[in-house]
């Protein structure tokens, strides 16, 4: 009996040991497989980025030599594709954003700038000397980028995994001083690219467009006390309304719309849901407010809701607003209103109003787009008639409605005829320039039960 017991314990330990080793080995191989797969992916991204950037550089050099617009359009479209790919793939690499922000921006703007030049060529215009200068500086940057990538490539052949080279998974709290080759190289590039002058052009990623300042606010400076009063008056609170401002940082005035942001507590209970509101520091306008309260049973029709929203806008001094699009979800409905002047729909001046369908209360208001864009405009008179514009459309396009509209295009606004209609069972909105008849924009409508999306 006793002999047998002596025998069991070592065997059990043996089994456990063998089991543990097998388990550990299994985990190790799985881990190895994952590591290799991940590294292969990063290797691919790195090599892709390298060849895309090479293509960008070569393309830019060729574009500086080429003389015909046709050749340039082809070159620029290639540059655009390669720069977009390079940016996309660089963003997937295991590198911290701080090390590549400017480089990504350079690639995005190179693509954007190419698109801008393509449009310019298609309009029959030539590249100006300043634009040649800009192309030259883009070319220099991409050449430098190329050099750094080649250097990295050589050093990477020696070190093992690329993500170890990038040193991102090894240490949590990375010291600024112990940067490895990968980071040093990228940081060099970052600071170099960061120093190149701003590209001046018209496209969504241009600095002037990103840093656009609001036009519709005026210059009067407002104190925080006044702003709090403006917010309370707008929301219709009484004396007992408790107002708290959000804490501000030192650079608050560098925001696109510098503003005071408030909580407003209507009741006295501590756990009361607040209403939020933002009031601009310049001009003291209420930019937005939101009341994210729970919503009860639907009791208000969409038609009534629209009227309530319009009345609300009138009450707060927004005349001539026209509902364009609505989206119903979660017991409320969101209306997009555009400003209307001389029977022209001004799309940039947009206000969003959300109505709760239980009581018809306005639970959200957002006029940030309106205040960014609204100004006194000198509207052009159309140079071509609606009939002439219609002739530019595809023959089988069934038109449901036609009107004049002002749409944003880069930093400009252009007057267009807006044609809403159908082509082969799909809904589109087509914009034809009312001055020169150019097809400026095509939107496709996507329907769902609750609203319509425009793409």
């Amino acid at each position: 009996m006793e002999k047998r017991r002596h025998w069991i314990a070592p065997v059990l330990i043996g089994i456990l040991l063998v089991g543990a080793i097998a388990w550990g080995y299994n985990l190790y191989t799985i881990n190895e497989r994952y590591a290799t797969a991940l590294d292969n992916h990063y290797q691919r991204l790195f090599h892709d980025v390298k060849s895309h950037v090479e293509n960008v550089q070569v393309g830019l050099s060729k574009a500086l030599v080429a003389t015909s617009k046709e050749r340039n359009i082809l070159l620029f479209s290639q540059i655009m594709t390669d720069a977009n790919f390079a940016q996309d793939k660089l963003g997937q690499m295991p590198i911290s954003h701080a090390d590549i922000a400017n480089t990504e921006k350079f690639l995005a703007q190179a693509a954007d700038y190419s698109y801008f030049l393509i449009q310019k060529h298609l309009d029959g215009k030539d590249i100006s000397p300043e634009e040649r200068e800009a192309l030259w500086s883009l070319q220099e940057n991409s050449a430098m980028f190329n050099g750094e990538l080649a250097r990295l490539h050589d050093s990477m052949a020696e070190s093992g995994y690329i993500y170890e080279a990038a040193a991102v998974f090894s240490k949590k709290d990375r010291n600024v001083n112990d940067k490895n080759e990968f980071q040093t190289s990228l940081t060099n590039l970052e600071s170099h690219v960061g120093k190149t002058p701003e590209l001046i052009y018209d496209g969504p990623f241009a600095d002037q467009i990103i840093n656009k300042k609001p036009e519709g606010l005026g210059n009067k400076k407002v104190s925080m006390e006044d702003a709090a009063r403006i917010a309370r008056d707008f929301i219709g609170g009484n004396k007992s309304t408790r107002i708290e401002a959000f804490e501000q940082g030192e650079d608050i005035d560098e925001l696109r719309i510098p503003a005071y942001t408030f909580h407003l507590f209507q009741g006295n209970q501590k756990n009361d849901l607040p209403i939020y509101a933002g009031v601009s520091k310049k001009g003291g306008k209420l930019i937005w407010m939101a009341n994210p309260r729970p919503i009860g049973k639907e009791d208000v029709s969409i038609k009534d809701a629209e009227k309530l929203a319009l009345d609300y806008l009138k009450k707060h001094g927004f005349e001539n607003m026209e509902p364009n699009y609505s989206l119903k979800y979660d017991g409320h409905i969101l209306f997009n209103f555009a400003y209307k002047e001389d029977d022209i729909t001004i799309y940039p001046d947009l206000i969003k109003v959300k109505v709760a369908l239980d009581t018809g209360e306005i639970i959200s208001f957002d006029a940030s787009a309106y205040y960014l864009n609204h100004k006194d405009r000198k509207l052009d008179t159309p140079k071509i008639s609606a009939e002439e514009a219609r002739e530019r459309l595809r023959t089988k396009f069934d038109i449901d409605s036609t009107r004049l509209a002002l749409i944003p295009k880069g930093k400009n606004e252009i007057l267009c005829y807006e044609f809403k209609g159908k082509y082969k069972d799909a809904d589109f909105i087509i914009y034809i320039n009312a001055l020169d008849g150019k097809e400026e924009q095509i939107l496709q409508l996507i329907h769902n039960e609750n609203g319509t999306l425009t793409f």
Binding site: I30, H97, A98, V168, G249, D251, E254, D330
Partner: protein
């Protein structure tokens, strides 16, 4: 001797069993994620807050099988949510209250009838759900406005040249969000996070265009403090 042999045999069998179990143990999380969030996109994933004909179909089925006691109104609310959970529990599915491909097929619902034509399969709901998961992973302890603000930062990044240009590109950018790195993004978002994602997509930006946010208590990168600090919402500082 024969007893000893028997014992050895037993030990061998046990060993084989243990090893067998170990070999069979392969993490299935990837496949689960794909199933759960319907990354194949074909049928729409239904969750709390969505409305539509497909929700009606689900409610109708659940009503007939007596999981559901509410109205067939096409609104995925609390009752539908609980009914779906009961259904999943009964049928050995993952109990998350979301009708993804596996739950849908267990109910016998084939791919949803998306409208044919040139807009087939185009919808915003995949982006919306991804954004809701990001918000849930990053800011579920924040007040509502803090959740919208996190969603707004993701959307502002898609419009900035220094960041990727798609929601997925921004969310999954390596080292960008801790909730992505540690897998919290795969938690099922609650109603608040889904609403916040919708509000952000519909244009509410309480940050006025900010591109960064950080929690001063947990932020490890010194670099983040070199950003321009603008305002504080909940526990997060926002900056450009």
């Amino acid at each position: 001797m024969s007893k000893k042999k028997k014992n050895i045999l037993r030990v061998m069998v046990l060993l084989v069993l243990v090893l067998g179990i170990i070999q069979l143990y392969e993490p299935k999380t990837m496949i689960d994620t794909v199933n759960k969030y319907g990354m194949a996109f074909a049928p729409r994933t239904l969750y709390w807050g969505v409305t539509g004909q497909d929700v009606r179909v689900v409610q109708d089925k659940l009503l007939r099988w007596q999981y559901y006691d509410g109205q067939v109104d096409g609104i995925y609310g609390a009752r539908t949510y609980r009914a779906v959970r009961r259904f999943q529990e009964k049928n050995g599915l993952k109990v998350d209250g979301v009708v993804g491909p596996s739950t849908a097929s267990a109910m016998g619902i084939s791919a949803s009838a998306a409208p044919a034509g040139s807009t087939q399969g185009v919808s915003r709901s995949a982006d919306e759900y991804l954004l809701a998961r990001t918000i849930h992973g990053e800011a579920r302890g924040e007040p509502y406005i803090g959740k919208v603000a996190v969603g707004a930062v993701v959307l502002n990044r898609t419009k900035s040249p220094s960041f990727p240009n798609t929601i997925a590109g921004v969310v999954y950018q390596p080292l960008a969000f801790t909730a992505v790195a540690d897998g919290q993004i795969n938690l099922t978002p609650n109603k608040d996070s889904i609403n916040a994602a919708r509000d952000a997509l519909n244009g509410w930006d309480p940050t006025y265009g900010c591109l960064y946010y950080w929690n001063p208590a947990t932020a490890t990168s010194k670099w983040i403090w070199s950003r321009k600090v603008t305002l504080k919402i909940g526990k997060h500082w926002f900056g450009i």
